[in-house]
Symmetry: C2
Subunit: 328 residues, 2 copies
């Protein structure tokens, strides 16, 4: 896989290697927890430069469908897209890890995480930054799960006070994963950040992408940012595994399963209508299967699907409409 980052800067190659190692750790741990299915690897090359290693789990005991993908791609951005990113020029190198896991039981939340590194400019590495985040989508709300998930990300941020700010990244996450037409978020959030290390040039981008305190008041030292991203990437298993582990033996009633399938439709709506990465990938000849691995196996849409007052369904939707401060 290393050939995918040949020609990148040394930092680019190191980031790529970190994402590959993280992918190994995550897929090993998830397969162990699942106990029945393991991940199959689907490596691919990008004709215009680079490629990836997509790993898929299907029909597991715990995980109904999931993907953990690493890619490293390079080339020339379209003029229109180049303008939407910090820095001059159109050459780019991008590497990252992206994962979405859809468990079978409605008691186990769906989870997403993504960490990425980008370089842009006519001299590669002229401007470079990290972005990423993770968010949790429960179908039946267990407050202790939400608290644990957020606590883990706060700890990862707190280790790097010069770089990361949990409060700002939590807010950014709540803003990013907004399903505008439903007036609700896709889940109970987590953290989201972008353009860390890109310096002053990134201020406008942060404002435009709608959120957070942004990196302007934070260190723009890329090695400090990378150290944070390493700890954040490493925190994923800590944030999610205990939650999946303590819920995996609760199978859910048929009614709860039906609720899960109906709520998954909102996940699809977010990804296909709003998610910047998904839409960019679909409209620029990205690798479709790696992009759409985020979509659940079984999904259901009902007409005018509103929860009844006083039910666990309504309690969940309330939290999606009005994000809570999980750490008091």
């Amino acid at each position: 896989m290393h050939q995918h980052s040949e020609g990148a800067s040394e930092r680019g190659r190191t980031a790529h290697q970190f994402f590959l190692d993280l992918q190994d750790r995550i897929t090993d741990a998830l397969a162990t927890l699942d106990g029945r299915s393991s991940f199959r690897s689907d490596p691919w090359d990008r004709p215009e430069g680079g490629g990836g290693r997509t790993r898929i789990i299907e029909d597991g005991a715990v995980f109904e469908k999931g993907g953990v993908a690493v890619s490293a791609v390079h080339g020339e951005l379209s003029e229109a897209f180049a303008k939407e990113l910090p820095g001059p020029g159109r050459r780019f190198f991008a590497t990252g890890i992206s994962l979405v896991i859809h468990p079978r039981s409605p008691h186990v939340p769906t989870v997403h995480a993504n960490f990425r590194y980008l370089e842009k400019g006519d001299a590669l590495g002229q401007i470079a930054w990290f972005g990423g985040g993770a968010d949790l989508t429960p179908w039946i709300l267990y407050e202790e799960d939400a608290v644990h998930f957020h606590q883990t990300w706060k700890r990862a941020c707190d280790l790097h006070p010069e770089v990361a700010d949990y409060r700002a990244y939590k807010k950014w996450c709540d803003e990013y994963f907004m399903i505008q037409h439903r007036h609700e978020r896709r889940g109970i959030g987590g953290i989201f950040f972008d353009y860390l290390g890109a310096g002053e040039g990134a201020k406008a981008m942060v404002t435009r992408s709608g959120g957070g305190q942004g990196p302007e008041s934070r260190s723009q030292d890329l090695s400090k940012v990378f150290a944070f991203v390493k700890d954040a990437g490493g925190a994923f298993l800590e944030a999610y595994l205990p939650v999946a582990d303590r819920r995996k033996n609760t199978p859910g009633t048929p009614e709860e399963r039906d609720w899960q399938l109906r709520r998954r439709s909102r996940y699809v709506e977010f990804n296909l209508v709003y998610d910047r990465g998904t839409i960019f990938g679909l409209k620029t000849n990205g690798r479709i299967e790696s992009i759409l691995m985020s979509l659940p196996n079984m999904v259901s849409w009902k007409y005018d699907d509103q929860p009844q007052p006083g039910t666990y369904q309504e309690r969940l939707v309330q939290v999606l409409k009005t994000p809570r401060d999980w750490l008091g």
Copy 2:
């Protein structure tokens, strides 16, 4: 419901009444064919002006989920959207009928139709036009069904040679219902047309929306256009009912059902990523439930879901990749 078109021009009110009557005819006929479920009515008002009458069928013997909606709305377009439509000014009146029917059996194709009338301009009715179309989405291809569907639309067009051109509208339909990222269409097409009657001002719009011979060589006389739209609307039941009727007693094997659910995911991808009406509605505070009634009840996404060579699945996908001339 007539109050929704109060204040519109006389033609606007007449078009609205035609769509309401057509809705009655269509929902009566579909409920009769279904035999178990009927349509329930969900009337709504639009705070900014107008409203609609959405009718929904769920859990029928033949129809798993479907909606037939009529609306008549008026007000001011956003500056950005006003520019994308022919004619000056921002005031508008729009009325139309829109339907999507998702049958239960994978042998009965999903169908969509939409006919609409718009007025725009500071003096209402300053510029006005009709648009519409219908397309069929089989999961298992029966050539005789595709031929019958297209033949019906050709007959409706041929009754109005000054206005309508089946060949051009068939091509326009194949271009419109393209799922770019899959390099395939959502179905075997039908007809699609827009800006009929809007005159010279609509030429640029037709080119931009990518298709067909366009109305420029056709009559721009709105009463002739309306006469065509009446016959096209009236042709819907003729185009679809015989197809649904002859397949409705073929339930489909579990494998065929699975294929249907997986193919429905492409329908969702088209509607959420490309359909102009859907995206416009979602991003401009449209009535969500009426917009998303087009989405199927049960849907499935698999990773890297390609049909095996030599199967009925592959035969269908071939036709979606390379549209056929159904009328020889």
